[in-house]
């Protein structure tokens, strides 16, 4: 833990130093230029669809992806975590989360101007940051649709974290953790990156669909949680304790739905049904496919067999890595990002995890943390002016890579600190971990009183 805090502080320091170097002129103002103050039915149709697709990623997508990887006696508890988070975050988003993330407020967090979703105009196109004459962003969709689309992002992010601590966290602790984490970690970081008032938006950090806000954030929180909760009983003890996935068919269904839903996640982040959305979908597909193959071939050559789990994990890694880049890079950039992500996340879920000695059970950090960092950095390398209006390293703008690293640093720093704080608070009050017998008998039975026959 001490190391963790040390590194977090270091990253924060780095980030703050770096901030001075950023030219605010690079900020993502392209969107703000759109002069269309009417609702476009085509854009709205695509965003309604994208919202459904992103919800599909969490329930049942992620629920199954994770549920298939645990032991059979924990499968219901695992899928229930994703479903419960979905319910809980939806309500919290309505009360506080949306306001904290997407009202103007300060560079660090929004105000409470949309408490209970008061004040959304049903029939006008949404103008984000209306209070900032210079920097506001005009959408062509109603605010309700924007709010819903963003809600599905707020749902999947804490659900991703659960992969790090399956099989051992109390259900009550999960609910408390999710609530606190959403409001203290997720909403502010979303504000930093995706609101024109936000500090990282201002710094010119590029994150098209959530490489930092969603994936690095979830991955780092998962790592912190794995460290604080400790390993599953028997994990790493050898001697036949068996933690093998009980049904990878479920995981493959989950990975497939994640992939399909990710079209909404990334192409939906264009907020319109246009050429940029089309390109975002194309690069998403290519990175996912390439990363699936690169993890598979890496494992095949190192371990002798191409596993189903490797293939699907690689695809998810590719999807993670292309997320921040998806509105900024072209297919060739996506190909390289996918290639790197497949290999790096394979390393993250195997070598790095073994070296670290932590039990990040389903590799929330190994896939989402590592993949998110790979993607956020390479966005700064492969961004093309012709795609997203910003040039990266390959078009002669090395500064963008620095900017990206600053964004990564900020996110890691705040996420690690705040997550650790929240978890210790819970640990010393209601407790984080189930009883040893509950863990042994399986959480399905001990926490939920149900079993899968």
């Amino acid at each position: 833990m001490q190391n963790l805090i040390k590194y977090s502080l270091l990253a924060l320091a780095l980030a703050l130093t770096g901030l001075g170097m950023i030219d605010p002129a690079l900020a993502q103002e392209a969107a703000a230029a759109a002069p269309a103050p009417a609702i476009d039915s085509g854009d709205t149709a695509w965003m309604l669809t994208s919202t459904a697709l992103v919800l599909l990623m969490t329930i049942p997508g992620l629920a199954l992806f994770y549920g298939g990887m645990v032991r059979k006696m924990n499968v219901l508890a695992t899928v229930t975590q994703s479903f419960a988070i979905c319910c809980l975050v939806a309500v919290l988003w309505m009360f506080f989360g949306y306001s904290l993330a997407f009202t103007t407020g300060t560079p660090y967090v929004g105000d409470m101007g949309r408490f209970l979703l008061h004040g959304m105009d049903m029939n006008a196109p949404f103008l984000m940051g209306a209070e900032m004459p210079a920097g506001s962003v005009q959408f062509t969709i109603p605010e309700s649709v924007f709010m819903m689309f963003q809600m599905t992002f707020a749902i999947i992010t804490p659900a991703l974290i659960t992969g790090a601590f399956v099989d051992r966290m109390k259900f009550s602790a999960l609910l408390v953790f999710t609530s606190a984490w959403l409001l203290i970690v997720y909403a502010p970081i979303a504000h930093w990156v995706w609101h024109p008032m936000g500090v990282l938006w201002g710094a010119g950090v590029l994150d098209f669909a959530g490489g930092t806000v969603v994936h690095i954030n979830a991955g780092v929180a998962g790592l912190v949680a794995a460290l604080i909760l400790g390993k599953r009983a028997g994990y790493g003890a050898g001697g036949g304790h068996n933690f093998a996935p009980h049904n990878l068919v479920l995981s493959l269904i989950g990975a497939s739905l994640l992939w399909v839903g990710w079209f909404g996640f990334n192409a939906g982040s264009a907020s319109a049904a246009n050429g940029r959305a089309g390109m975002a979908m194309a690069v998403t597909m290519i990175a996912a496919a390439t990363a699936g193959l690169s993890w598979m071939f890496a494992e095949w050559s190192l371990r002798g067999k191409p596993s189903a789990l490797g293939l699907i994990s690689g695809s998810v890694a590719g999807l993670v890595a292309i997320t921040p880049a998806s509105g900024f890079v072209d297919p060739e950039g996506a190909l390289i990002i996918g290639l790197v992500a497949g290999v790096m996340c394979y390393w993250g879920a195997t070598t790095l995890k073994r070296a670290g000695g932590y039990d990040d059970s389903l590799d929330a950090f190994g896939v989402h943390g590592v993949g998110g960092i790979v993607g956020a950095s390479l966005t700064g390398v492969f961004a093309l002016k012709g795609i997203g209006g910003v040039s990266g390293l390959i078009e002669g703008n090395p500064g963008q890579v620095i900017t990206q690293l600053i964004g990564i640093g900020y996110t890691i720093a705040w996420c690690a600190l705040a997550t650790a704080g929240i978890l210790y608070m819970i640990k010393f009050t209601i407790g984080l971990r189930v009883e040893p017998e509950q863990e042994r008998d399986g959480l399905d039975l001990s926490l939920h009183g149900e079993t899968v026959l």
Partner: protein, 112 residues
């Protein structure tokens, strides 16, 4: 009467059953079991974590027979279940005192 309990490789079930019905054996009970023996298991790797699977799927066949059938039955099973490779299984023979057919209440030889 004797109880023959044979552990065999799963894909040999049909051949064993045919060999036994060839002897006029009309009843048997089969259970899916896991066997540990000289035959090594295998290793599965999931994202870098190795899991040694030392128990292998086997089938257990139990059949009650008259004592004088033991030799032919054993020969039939051995003949049908043998592949010559390690892990072919074992046959255990013990005595039973009594057999009852639930439907009729018939006993012993009549109940077989």
């Amino acid at each position: 009467m004797k109880l023959v309990m044979a552990i065999i490789k799963p894909f040999k079930l049909d051949e064993v059953r045919e060999a036994l019905t060839g002897l006029g054996i009309e009843g048997m009970t089969v259970t899916e079991v896991k066997g540990y023996g000289r035959q090594k298991g295998h290793t599965e790797i999931y994202r870098g974590a190795e899991y040694a699977v030392s128990f292998l799927p086997k089938l257990k066949i139990e059949l009650a027979i008259n004592s004088d059938q033991v030799e032919t039955v054993v020969d039939a099973i051995v003949g049908a279940a043998r592949t010559g490779q390690i892990g072919d299984g074992k046959i255990f023979i013990s005595s039973i005192d009594q057999v009852i057919r639930v439907r009729t209440g018939e006993k012993d030889a009549d109940a077989l």
